[in-house]
C-alpha cells in the first residue's frame, strides 16, 4: 500500500512542488498562508502521504494547497483518487460520489429492485427448514419400522456370514431346536447375524418357540420376501392386540365378520381373547387355528 502511495505521491508531489517553485514561493511562506504545517507540506511534496494524518485530512490539505498554488483542487483530488483506486483507502471516499443528485423517484425504484435480492436469504432459510423437516420425519419413520433396512440385508448376509454350508437345512433345523436361540451362528436360517439388524427379531425367537402354533408359520416365511402380511377374518366377537415387528402395539375390539390386514417387516405377536375366533392367512398361506376355541391365545408369527 505504501508503495502505491509513493507512486501516487510521486505523481502529485512534484506537480505541487513545481507549481510552488514556478510561483517563487518558499515552503515557509506557503505554510504561513495555508497554516498547514511545514512538515506536512514537505511530506506532500515528497509524496510521503503516510506521514499525513488521515485520508480525509490529506484530501483537504491537498485541495487547500493546490488552491493556494493556483491549481485546481478538484483536479489534484481526482489524481489522488485515481492512484488510490486500488488501495482500500479509496473505499470510504467512494460512496459519496456515485449519487450526488439521486432523484428520489429513482431511489424508490431501486428499493423495489433490491427487494428481489432481499428475499433470497429468507427463501434459503425456508428451504433449509423444509429439508430439515424431511430429514427428521424420515428418521422418525425408520424408528417406527426399522423394517425397511434390515430385511433386505439378512437374506444375502445370512448366506455368507455364519455357515454358508448349512442354509438348505434351515427350515427343518429351526423347529427342531427352537430353544437354541443362543447359538445364533449355528442357525443359518436366522437372519439376525448381521450386526445392523434391529433388536426386534432377536427378542422374538425365544418367545415364539414355546408356542405350538408357531411352526406352521415359519415355513411360509422361507420365501425371504420383504416384509410379511397377516390377514385375519374374525368369526366371533372378540378382542385382540397385535404387536407389529415388536415395536407397534395396537388393540382392537372386533366383531364377527371383521377382516383386517397388517403389514410388517419381520413378524407379529398376537394376543387374542378367543383362539378360535379368527382364521386367516400369513404371507399368503392359510393359518392353522390360532388357539383353542373359547380360550385366550398368544401367537407369534415370524417372517421365517
Amino acid at each position: 500500500m505504501s508503495d502505491e502511495e509513493v507512486v501516487s505521491g510521486a505523481a502529485i508531489g512534484p506537480l505541487l512542488k513545481n507549481a510552488r517553485e514556478a510561483k517563487g514561493v518558499q515552503l515557509e511562506e506557503a505554510s504561513r498562508v495555508t497554516k498547514i504545517g511545514k512538515n506536512y507540506l514537505s511530506a506532500i511534496e515528497e509524496g510521503a502521504f503516510e506521514k499525513l494524518p488521515n485520508p480525509a485530512y490529506l484530501k483537504g490539505f491537498l485541495r487547500l494547497y493546490a488552491t493556494y498554488l493556483g491549481l485546481s483542487g478538484d483536479d489534484i483530488i481526482a489524481r489522488y483518487q485515481q492512484t488510490l483506486t486500488t488501495t482500500p483507502i479509496a473505499a470510504p471516499a467512494a460512496p459519496p460520489q456515485p449519487e450526488p443528485h439521486d432523484a428520489s423517484a429513482m431511489g424508490v425504484e431501486r428499493v423495489t429492485f433490491r427487494g428481489h435480492r432481499r428475499w433470497g436469504i429468507p427463501l434459503l432459510l425456508l428451504g433449509l427448514v423444509i429439508v430439515a423437516a424431511l430429514f427428521f420425519s424420515e428418521s422418525e419413520e425408520k424408528r417406527e419400522k426399522p423394517a425397511s433396512a434390515p430385511p433386505p440385508a439378512p437374506a444375502p448376509a445370512a448366506v455368507p456370514a455364519p455357515k454358508p454350508v448349512q442354509p438348505p437345512m434351515s427350515s427343518a433345523a429351526r423347529p427342531a431346536q427352537p430353544q437354541a436361540a443362543l447359538p445364533v451362528p449355528a442357525q443359518p436360517g436366522q437372519p439376525v447375524p448381521p450386526p445392523g439388524a434391529a433388536p426386534a427379531p432377536q427378542a422374538a425367537p425365544p418367545t415364539a418357540a414355546p408356542v405350538a402354533s408357531a411352526p406352521p408359520a415359519t415355513p411360509a416365511s422361507k420365501e425371504g420376501r420383504k416384509g410379511v402380511i397377516l390377514k385375519l377374518r374374525f368369526t366371533q366377537d372378540t378382542w385382540m392386540s397385535i404387536t407389529i415387528d415388536g415395536a407397534i402395539s395396537q388393540r382392537y375390539d372386533l366383531k364377527a365378520g371383521d377382516i383386517i390386514e397388517w403389514k410388517g417387516a419381520h413378524g407379529f405377536t398376537l394376543d387374542l381373547g378367543d383362539g378360535g375366533a379368527a382364521e386367516g392367512e400369513f404371507n399368503g398361506r392359510p393359518l392353522k387355528a390360532l388357539g383353542e376355541r373359547g380360550k385366550p391365545a398368544h401367537v407369534e408369527l415370524k417372517a421365517d
Binding site: N54, L64, P98, S104, T112
Partner: protein
C-alpha cells in the same frame, strides 16, 4: 430470543438514517446510499375539520411564500429542532414511506441526527415523531459526531478532531476523540440566519423587500465570508418598500459580505470558544490537523479562509459537505457496534 428476532427483522427491514435538518432532509437507505434529498418544507391546507398535507419537500418549497390564505407552507424545523410536532411527524412519515414503501412488514430501524445542544424535551419529540411515523427502533446521534464520521475523520483514534457543521438552523462545533465528544458548542446560527441577514440588509439599504428564497439565491450566488479575488454582481428582484412596485437592483459581493458579517462572526466566535475550552493535548492535535468544515454553510465562499485567518489553523472542507451528516449516520447503521457507541441515550 430477542436477539434472534432482531437478526430476523434486520434481514427484512430497510434501515434508514435521516438527517432531519432545518433546511433539507436527507434520507440514507442502508446498502443503497442517499435516496431522498429534499427541503424540509410541508404545505398544509386548512380544512373545516383540521388540516391536510398538500405537498412535502421540493414541491412544497416551491409554494413557500406563494400560497393563498387556505394553504400554508411550513418549515417544521426551526433552529435545528422541531417547532411543529405534528407537521414534522407528517413529513417523516412521508419520507419513510417514500423510501421504505412498506414492502416488508417489518418496520425500519432509524438513526436520526439531532443538534448537540438539544434538550431532553426536544430529544423526546424527535424520537416520538419517528416512532409514530413507523420506526421500529430510533437511535439519536449528535450531528457533529455524524458529520465527523461522514467526513471520514478518524474519530475512534485517540487524537483530537475538530468539526464545524454549519447547517440551516444551527452551527455545531465539536472536538471529538475516541468516539466521544470532548467539547461541543452549538449556536443557533446557520444558513437561515444568513438569509435573514441578507433580507434585512437589502431592506435597510435599498428599501427593497425580498423573499427568503431570493435571499438564499443571493447567498449561494455571490455570498462570501472573506474578500475574494473577484467582485461578483447579481440582480435582485423584489418589492420596493417606498413605491410598493416590484423592481430590480444590482448588488455585489462586498455588500453581501457586510450583510453576512453578523452571522458569520457568530460562527467564528463559536469556533474560538470551542478552541479555548479544548484540553491542551487535543489542542496540539488540532494545530496539526486543523478544522474540518461540513454542512451546507461550509459552501459559503471563503468561509474557510476567514476561519483560517481567525484561528491560525488549517481549515479544510469535507468532501460533499451537504451530505456529510447523513452519510455519517448511514455509516453508523452499517456498524451497529459503533452505533451503540455514539448513540445518544435519552
Amino acid at each position: 430470543m430477542i436477539k434472534i428476532f432482531d437478526a430476523l427483522f434486520g434481514m427484512f427491514s430497510n434501515d434508514l438514517a435521516i438527517d432531519l435538518g432545518t433546511a433539507n432532509t436527507l434520507v440514507y437507505l442502508k446498502g443503497k446510499g442517499i435516496v431522498v434529498r429534499e427541503p424540509s418544507v410541508v404545505a398544509v391546507q386548512k380544512m373545516q375539520n383540521g388540516q391536510k398535507v398538500l405537498a412535502v419537500g421540493m414541491e412544497a418549497k416551491k409554494m413557500l411564500g406563494r400560497t393563498p390564505g387556505t394553504i400554508t407552507a411550513i418549515r417544521p424545523m426551526k433552529d435545528g429542532v422541531i417547532a411543529d410536532f405534528d407537521i414534522t411527524e407528517e413529513m417523516l412519515r412521508y419520507f419513510i414511506h417514500k423510501v421504505h414503501n412498506r414492502k416488508t412488514l417489518v418496520r425500519p430501524r432509524i438513526v436520526i441526527c439531532v443538534p448537540s445542544g438539544i434538550t431532553q424535551v426536544e430529544k423526546r419529540a424527535v424520537k416520538e415523531s419517528a416512532e409514530s411515523a413507523g420506526a421500529r427502533e430510533v437511535y439519536l446521534i449528535e450531528e457533529p459526531m455524524a458529520a465527523a464520521i461522514g467526513a471520514g475523520l478518524p474519530i475512534t483514534e485517540a487524537s483530537g478532531n475538530m468539526i464545524v457543521d454549519i447547517g440551516g438552523g444551527t452551527t455545531e462545533v465539536a472536538v471529538i476523540s475516541l468516539a466521544g465528544i470532548v467539547y461541543t458548542k452549538s449556536v443557533r446560527v446557520g444558513g437561515d440566519k444568513m438569509d435573514e441577514a441578507i433580507v434585512q440588509y437589502i431592506k435597510r439599504k435599498y428599501n427593497l423587500l425580498i423573499g427568503d428564497r431570493m435571499a438564499e439565491l443571493i447567498k449561494i450566488e455571490i455570498g462570501e465570508a472573506y474578500p475574494g479575488n473577484e467582485l461578483l454582481h447579481m440582480e435582485v428582484k423584489g418589492r420596493d418598500l417606498v413605491s410598493g412596485i416590484p423592481k430590480t437592483t444590482e448588488i455585489d459581493s462586498n455588500e453581501i459580505r457586510d450583510a453576512l458579517s453578523e452571522p458569520v462572526t457568530a460562527i467564528v466566535d463559536a469556533v474560538r470558544n470551542c478552541l479555548e475550552r479544548t484540553p491542551p493535548e487535543l489542542a496540539a492535535d488540532l494545530v496539526d490537523k486543523g478544522i474540518v468544515l461540513a454542512g451546507g454553510g461550509a459552501l459559503l465562499r471563503n468561509l474557510d479562509i476567514l476561519l483560517r485567518e481567525e484561528t491560525g489553523l488549517p481549515v479544510v472542507t469535507a468532501e460533499d459537505p451537504l451530505s456529510c451528516v447523513v452519510l455519517g449516520s448511514g455509516k453508523v447503521l452499517d456498524e451497529l457496534a459503533l452505533l451503540r457507541n455514539v448513540a445518544v441515550s435519552s
